[in-house]
C-alpha cells in the first residue's frame, strides 16, 4: 500500500502560488485582449462588405477549427522566425489565446447582436443616430447582457486551455507541478494537489457564473450561446 | 523575408503519415470510450436514485472543472504509483481525453433526454414498456437526433484534444511535426503543415455540424 505524503509538496507552496498567479495572469490578459479583438472580429464579420466579412470569417474558422496546442506551437516556434522578433513564452501564449478566444467570442458577439430585434435599430435611427451610435448606445448594451453566460463559459475554457503553456516552458501552475514532482519524486501528491487547485478555482468561478445566470433567468433576460 | 520551403516537409511525408495514423488511432479510442461512457454517466445524472445521481454528478463536475492536460499528466505520472504496472502514453492520454469527453457528453445526453416531452414516456409506458425499453426504443432515438450537432461538436473537440497526447510523447501529428522541425530546422513549414492538416481534417466536420444545426432548426 502506498503511503501518501503531502509535506514535500506543501514545502513548495511558493512555487505553486507563483504558478497560479502566472496562470491567472495569462488568463486575464488573454481574456481582455480576446474580448476587444472578438468584438472587432464580430463587427467585421457582420459587415456588408465582403472584403471585411470574408477575412474575419476566415480567421474565426481557422482558430476555431485547429487545435489550440498547434496554434501555440506555431506562434512560439514559427512566427518569431517569420517576423524576426524574439517571442517569450508569455507573449506567444497571450497572442495565441487572445486570438483563439477572440474567434469564439466573435461568434458570441455576433449571435448577441443578431438576437436584438430590428425594431431597436429602427428606433435608434428614427431619432437620428448613426450606425455606430445605435450599435454602441442601443444594441450592444442589450446584447452584452444576453451574452454574459456564454462569456463565462468561454472564460472557464480559456483558463483550462492556459495549461498548454506548460509545454513551452512558461511557469504556470501546471509547469510548477512538473517541476515540483521532479524535484520531490512525489508525482502522485503533486499532480493531485494541482488538479485540486484547478478544480477549486474553476469550480468557484463556475459557481459565480451559474449564480449570475440564474439571476438573469429570474429577471427574465434571454441569453445566447 | 522568409523563403518558404515546404520541400523539407514533403520529404517527411511518411513521418506525417505515421503521425496521422497515431492521431486517428487515439481519436477513435477516445470517441468510442468518451461518448459511450458519457451515455452511462448522463443516464446517472438523469436518474432519480441518489446512488446513481451523486456519483455521476461528482464525476461530471470534477472532469469538467479540471484541465484535460492536467488529467493526462496525472494519469501518466501519478496513476502508475498506485498501480502495479506502468501506464503508456497512449493509455494516459486516452484515459484523460475519454473521461473528460465523457463528462462533457454526459451533459449533452442528459439535456437531450430531458428535452423529450413527458408524453413520449406516457405513450411508451401505456403500451407496457419498462424503463429500459422506453429509453432504448422511444426516448433515445429522438433525443439522439436532437443531440447530433452537440455530439459532433464533441467529436471535433476530441480530435483537437488528441494533440495533447504529444505532451506525454505519444506519436501523433503534432509530435511528428515537432520531430520534423527539430531534424530539419524548419519549424515554420513543419508547424504550418500540421495546422493545415488539422484544418483540412476538421473543416468539413465543422461545416457538417452547421448543416445538422440548420436541419434540426428547420425540423422543429
Amino acid at each position: 500500500m502506498y503511503r501518501w505524503d503531502f509535506t514535500p509538496v506543501l514545502a513548495n507552496a511558493d512555487l505553486l502560488a507563483a504558478g497560479l498567479v502566472n496562470t491567472l495572469k495569462i488568463t486575464g490578459t488573454s481574456l481582455a485582449c480576446g474580448l476587444v479583438l472578438g468584438l472587432a472580429l464580430a463587427l467585421l464579420r457582420l459587415s456588408k462588405h465582403r472584403w471585411a466579412s470574408w477575412p474575419a470569417g476566415f480567421v474565426i474558422e481557422v482558430f476555431r477549427t485547429t487545435p489550440p496546442l498547434v496554434q501555440l506551437f506555431w506562434f512560439f516556434f514559427a512566427l518569431p522566425l517569420i517576423v524576426g522578433i524574439e517571442m517569450t513564452p508569455f507573449m506567444a501564449a497571450v497572442v495565441t489565446f487572445s486570438i483563439q478566444s477572440a474567434a469564439f467570442f466573435a461568434e458570441v458577439f455576433r449571435a448577441g447582436i443578431v438576437s436584438i430585434e430590428r425594431g431597436q435599430w429602427d428606433g435608434a435611427r428614427a431619432i437620428g443616430m448613426t450606425h455606430a451610435q445605435a450599435l454602441r448606445r442601443i444594441v450592444l448594451p442589450q446584447a452584452v447582457k444576453r451574452m454574459i453566460p456564454a462569456f463565462m463559459e468561454r472564460t472557464i475554457e480559456l483558463m483550462k486551455t492556459t495549461t498548454l503553456v506548460a509545454t513551452i516552458a512558461y511557469a504556470d501552475l501546471l509547469y510548477a507541478a512538473n517541476e515540483i514532482s521532479q524535484k520531490t519524486f512525489r508525482p502522485l501528491e503533486t499532480f493531485t494537489v494541482v488538479a485540486l487547485i484547478y478544480f477549486v478555482v474553476i469550480t468557484a468561478f463556475s459557481l459565480v457564473a451559474r449564480r449570475l445566470e440564474r439571476r438573469m433567468a429570474i429577471s427574465g433576460e434571454s441569453t445566447v450561446h | 523575408m522568409h523563403r518558404w520551403d515546404f520541400a523539407s516537409v514533403l520529404a517527411n511525408t511518411d513521418a506525417l503519415l505515421v503521425g496521422a495514423i497515431g492521431t486517428l488511432h487515439i481519436f477513435a479510442i477516445c470517441l468510442v470510450l468518451g461518448l459511450s461512457l458519457g451515455l452511462v454517466v448522463g443516464l446517472g445524472r438523469y436518474a432519480r436514485s441518489r446512488w446513481l445521481y451523486w456519483p455521476a454528478t461528482a464525476f461530471v463536475e470534477f472532469f469538467r472543472n479540471t484541465p484535460v492536460l492536467v488529467q493526462i499528466l496525472w494519469f501518466y505520472f501519478a496513476l502508475p504509483i498506485l498501480l502495479p504496472f506502468s501506464v503508456s502514453p497512449l493509455e494516459a492520454a486516452s484515459l484523460g481525453i475519454s473521461l473528460n469527453s465523457a463528462a462533457f457528453s454526459a451533459e449533452i445526453y442528459r439535456g437531450g433526454i430531458q428535452s423529450i416531452e413527458r408524453g413520449q414516456w406516457d405513450g411508451a409506458r401505456a403500451i407496457g414498456m419498462n424503463w429500459a425499453q422506453a429509453m432504448r426504443r422511444i426516448i433515445l432515438p429522438q433525443a439522439l437526433k436532437r443531440m447530433m450537432p452537440a455530439l459532433t461538436n464533441r467529436a471535433i473537440e476530441i480530435f483537437k484534444m488528441s494533440t495533447l497526447a504529444s505532451a506525454v510523447a505519444y506519436v501523433e501529428l503534432l509530435q511528428q511535426g515537432k520531430l520534423i522541425a527539430s531534424l530539419n530546422f524548419n519549424p515554420i513549414e513543419a508547424y504550418t503543415a500540421v495546422a493545415v492538416i488539422f484544418f483540412v481534417f476538421l473543416w468539413p466536420l465543422v461545416q457538417f455540424t452547421y448543416v445538422l444545426e440548420r436541419r434540426l432548426a428547420g425540423d422543429e
Binding site: - | 405513450g123 409506458r125 401505456a126
Partner: protein, 246 residues
Amino acid sequence: MTILKVSGLAKRFAGQEVLRGIDLDVTKGERIAVLGASGSGKSTLLRCLNFMEMPDAGTVTLDGRTIGRRESELTLVRQRIGMVFQQFNLFPHMTALGNVMEGLRTVRRMPRDQAQARAGKELARVGLADKAANYPAHLSGGQKQRVAIARALAMDPELLLFDEPTSALDPELVGEVLGVIRSLAEEGRTMLLVTHELGFAYHVATRVIFLADGTIHEQGTPDEVLKHPKKERTQSFLARHKEFSL
C-alpha cells in the same frame, strides 16, 4: 363480472389533495364517462388506474388481483389496460404502422411479420390502412388520435382508458375520432372515458360519473346524471356547458 375494482384511491400533488378516496367497480362491457370541471381530478383518476401516476393510498384490483408497484408487474398491467391521451403521444420517429407495431414487437416480442399483419388490421379498423407508411408529422390531428387508438387496441386490452381524446382536436376533426370510439362501444368493449363531449357521453356511456373535489360527487345512468342531476354542483356544471344538447 367486475374486472376492475378501485377502493380508497387517493393522490396528492405538492400537498394538494387531487383524489380523496375514490371507490369504483368496473364491470365487463361497461362504458363509464367521467365528467367534472378542470382540476377535479379526472385525468389523475385515469392515470392512477394503470399506475402512470402512483396513488398515495388505496388499491386497484384487476381481475381479482391487487396490483403491486413493481415495474415488472406494472408493465403487465399496462398491457391489459390500454390508454389514449389528449395529446396522442405518438412516437414521431416511427410511421403509423411502426407506432402500432411497437408494443407488439418490443413488449410482446412478436415476430415482425405477425406484428405487421396485426398492426395493419388495427389501422384498417380505425380507417387508416392507407396511411400506414406516414409519419405522425404528416397526419392530421384526428388521424393521429386514430393511430393512437389502434396502438392501444393492438395490445388486446381488457379495458380502455380515454383521457380527453378529442380536446386537442380542431372541431371538424372531432367526429372521426368519436366515430371510432363509438364503434368500439358497439363491439362491447369496456372503457372509461374522460370527456367534455356531453352529448357523446349521453349516447355512448352506460354510466356517468361526476367528479368534484377529488371524490365521486354523483353517479348513475346517463339519464339520471345528465338529464336529472340531483346534486347542485352537477346541475351548475351542466348549466355551464350550454352547448350540451341531448
